[in-house]
Amino acid sequence: MTQPLPMAGAPANVNLAGLTKNDYRGAPSTLCQGCGHNSIANQIITAMYELSVKPEKVVKFSGIGCSSKSPTYFMNRSFGFNSLHGRMPSIATGALFGDHTLKGLGVSGDGDTASIGMGQFKHIMRRNVNMVYIVENNGVYGLTKGQFSATAEKGLSLKKQGTNPYMPVDICMEALVSNATFVARSFAGNPKQVKELLKAAFAHKGIAVLDIISPCVTFNNQTNAYHSYTWGKDHEAPLHDITYIAPRSEIILEQEMQEGEVREVTMHDGSIVILKNLERGYDPTNRFEAMRALEEAQRNDWLITGLIYVNTEKPGLEETFNLVDTPLNRLTEADLRPAPELLDKINGLMF
């Protein structure tokens, strides 16, 4: 499974962690050809490789559904937990208490998150668990062969299902309302943006939601469907061009800096996310503005993509719980079992 560690003067395809891209791969995908999820898995592999992340420092999570199968298809060297339908957030929350130096990487779908898992989704936002939460959003249940999900747009018609009478759930809006600290949207047909947002999300300390419109080529790829490649390409309205600069890199694109249309966000680890504005002078640190942008997009039938909101101020879970520096799962009996004198004291108190 593992590759031998590179020797000095190793070829250039070895990253700063000494790993090749192969070290980030998983088992071959069993999803449909052309599925947006496969493209996202590939971007995860590339992003993690380019970030020189140690796979052992990442824990993968998922729920149930097509999207939730995909953690098998990347990063074999990371622990993973394919849990229950809609319950990924609770498993991840508990698991990440085990070792607070680890980063969660969760992959869920629109059914898994916006229908059966809505409650847990909102609460993991609230707790600001240190995890990238990807929603591979195709508006449809694939694994059970083509039923509506809660993110399907009103008026969509599906074979055997008729026409959807309800407004869709907006994952980014729900995340924002629940005080998520990083909210972004992208489109699987825009791999460069997916990759840059993944990197930024990974650098964020806390919960980072990535709602990625990921067309289902089998059950929901009508040219007029919101979650299709055709519609996405025609209606995508990026908020900005996004570039992620790793902390150790000192090269900043000076020319772009001078354009005056550039916003920088410094992440917890010192890395920088550069957002080059396209039209609207958008400020992703303004929650009110973010809500306005989402509402506006919905009214105008735009697929806005990019970093919608980021807040680097809120404490993570290990700070909130004031945890010891040593990962909890490395503590020993000496740390965990109180001394006999303390039981004598307790017995003295029991009256």
Binding site: S90, I91, Q120
Partner: protein, 642 residues
């Protein structure tokens, strides 16, 4: 009039939310401190304020602590329950009531004592107006103390304990106690026969509730992560964790080696606990029936993915919402088979406060050893009421972290391991946890079918083999769970099986059966599932076995019948469930109703019946030859079933 000393029951009727629990606990603790065996049970409504609530105190020189259904002394503080309370006084008993309740008293067979509670409190300048109702409860404590002889100094000690030494509330409450006592001394003439006199029968004992004991036991078990959702009667267990963690796991750097998370619901609570258990933490959740129903989906995942986690079920009576403040043993078969598909649960059954502590720490050793959820079933009566107990005993063995591999282990194995490989033949595989930095440490956990390497598989034989291994693991569990507690009586002709909080009622029943009916019984208190060999031995040895439990359908009886079909005809279910703590009355009546006098001890017959399997033959032999071991840890059993 003949004095009746240290052998009667008191019941106090108040409105819930009126703050009477301090007063009632004070009476209980003061009697306990006088060396007299005592038990207290709160019979409360599912309500915050205004409905009738009762607190019963049983004083028993013989040490019987089960609920009695007769009350010799009744204290009526609530006009709404006054008529009922008055009617409930046993003939020859005593009735104390707040004299602002202007209702007729139509009984002449009891002693009646009016108490000017409001007047006394109003006249005390040290009691602010808004404290009058609270402190008023202490007046009946004082009156009662004076009339039956509870030591005022012991009341002081109880209040000092209750208020953790805070002088102001202690003084205010003691003022009311003394005022009540003085008023009674000056104005009441003793017309009843009931007295408390000091004894030496509680020396070295502690008094605690099961939920607190469970929380402290869990902390001594190295608990690191607890997630929970509020539910009666389990909430106080998680709250006790918050109370005791800071003291018991204090560090110089002020940081925490633990986390307690109040989840958004029971699904998330158990999900978080399973996530934490999966990543190598000693993790638990605590709940009651309705919460447990919600946890079913996750319980199946933890069983199948083999994640250690401890789940406390402080049982209340169901089905459905049931009676949230009433006790039961109704979750046994549900937990035993919890989850869809073939599942088998490991269940611990603490018999009291002492074992709530003991199983609190032991549950983690068993869960991590077996890599499976361990359910601990207590109940509202055990969990929320105050019980006398032996002091908690420090764990007698180091933590068992089970088969866990870290970097150096994988180094030695050269990475050659598989998550679900039964290397040792006991059904228990080896595991790694996230954070392990060895490049071969990771695996992908799933609730879908998986092979030995944790890879998804739909192969028929892979599925079959995995399920057979899980079954093997369940058999292995028999050597790790606590053996039953066996109490033998010379010349016993019947067997009684019980578990959990019914022990006190069964003990009292056994005394009554022997002294009043000449029936001697052996008693086996089951402490875990799967059953250990001692259970089969007990069944083989007795011709009539009464299975006592607090539910409608006789759930333990059902499980015994499934496990030991060859003994099914010997089992007689004594099951009763009305939400009230077990009493010797129904246990005795239940046994006598099914008792057959003609049957003789079953030695000879047992041999014949038990021929079916070698296991049972061995069990019978050992029961014939020698007394079966009491409380000995379960040894490796040969009872692996084919």
């Amino acid at each position: 009039m003949n004095k009746i000393v240290n052998d009667f029951s008191i019941i106090v009727g108040t409105k819930n939310g009126s703050g009477s629990s301090t007063a009632n606990n004070t009476i209980l603790r003061a009697i306990f401190k006088m060396g007299v065996p005592v038990s207290g049970k709160n019979l409360f409504p599912s309500n915050i304020q205004g409905l009738p609530t009762w607190y019963t105190i049983r004083v028993s020189k013989d040490g019987f602590t089960a609920r009695r259904e007769v009350n010799e002394i009744v204290i009526a503080m609530n006009p709404d329950s006054f008529v009922r309370d008055l009617a409930s006084v046993a003939p020859g008993g005593a009735f104390f009531y707040a004299d602002d309740i202007k209702l007729p008293i139509n009984r002449t067979d009891i002693a009646v004592y009016p108490m000017p509670v409001k007047k006394i409190v109003r006249e005390d300048p040290n009691v602010p107006a808004d404290f009058r109702e609270l402190v008023g409860n202490m007046v009946y404590v004082g009156v009662l103390a004076q009339m039956i002889g509870i030591d005022i100094e012991k009341i002081q000690a109880a209040l000092e304990f209750h208020f953790k030494g805070k002088q102001k509330p202690i003084a205010m409450n003691m003022g009311a106690v003394r005022a009540g006592a003085e008023w009674a001394k000056a104005n009441l003439e003793k017309k009843d026969p009931f007295y408390i006199e000091p004894m030496d029968k509680t020396h070295g004992m502690i008094m605690a509730d099961g939920n607190t004991a469970a929380a402290i036991g869990s902390i001594f078990g190295g608990l690191q992560f607890a997630a929970w959702y509020p539910i009666t009667p389990a909430s106080s267990l998680a709250e006790a964790l918050n109370d005791y963690f800071p003291m018991l796991r204090k560090r110089e750097d002020g940081k925490h080696t633990y986390a307690v998370v109040q989840a958004e619901d029971e699904l998330a609570a158990v999900g978080m606990a399973i996530g934490a258990g999966w990543s190598g933490l000693r993790a638990m959740t605590s709940t009651s029936g309705p919460g447990l129903s919600l946890m079913t989906e996750f319980a199946g995942l933890a069983y199948f993915a083999e994640v250690p986690v401890v789940i406390w079920d402080v049982q209340r009576i169901g089905p459905s919402t049931g009676l949230p403040t009433r006790t039961s043993q109704g979750d046994l078969t549900f937990v035993n088979f919890m989850g869809h598909g073939d599942t088998q649960a490991v269940i611990l059954l603490p018999g009291g406060v002492y074992e709530c502590f003991e199983f609190g720490w032991k549950a983690f050793d068993i869960a991590e050893r077996l890599q499976t959820p361990v359910f601990v079933l207590s109940d509202l009566d055990m969990g929320m009421n105050q019980w006398m107990s032996k002091p908690f005993q420090y764990p007698d063995k180091p933590m068992d972290r089970g088969k866990i591999l870290w970097e150096k282990d994988l180094e030695e194995l050269k990475g050659n391991w598989a998550r679900y490989l039964d290397k040792d033949g006991d059904g228990i595989p080896y595991r790694t946890v996230p954070g392990n930095q060895h490049p071969m440490s990771a695996y992908f956990t799933r609730g879908t079918g998986h092979d030995e390497h944790a890879r998804y598989s739909e192969e028929a034989h892979v599925w079959y083999n995995n399920m057979e291994r899980l079954k093997r693991k369940y058999e292995t569990a028999r050597q790790y769970v606590p053996a039953p507690d066996l109490r033998e009586t010379k010349g016993a002709t019947i067997g009684i099986i019980g578990y959990g909080s019914t022990e006190a009622a069964i003990t009292e029943t056994m005394h009554q059966l022997e002294t009043e009916h000449g029936i001697k019984a052996d008693f086996l208190r089951i402490r875990a599932l799967p059953f250990t060999k001692e259970v089969g031995e007990f069944l083989a040895k007795h011709e009539q076995i009464f299975v006592v439990e607090m539910n409608r359908d006789g759930q333990m009886n059902q499980l015994l019948t499934i496990e030991y079909p060859q003994f099914a005809t010997r089992l007689k279910s004594v099951a009763y469930g009305d939400g009230m703590p077990a009493s010797a009355r129904w246990v005795r009546e239940g046994i006598l109703a099914k008792y057959e006098a003609k049957k003789a001890p079953a030695k000879a017959k047992a041999k014949a019946t038990a021929r079916r399997t070698s296991v049972r033959k061995a069990a019978v032999k050992s029961s014939v030859k020698k007394k079966s071991s009491v409380k000995s840890p379960a040894k490796k059993t040969s009872s692996r079933k084919k």
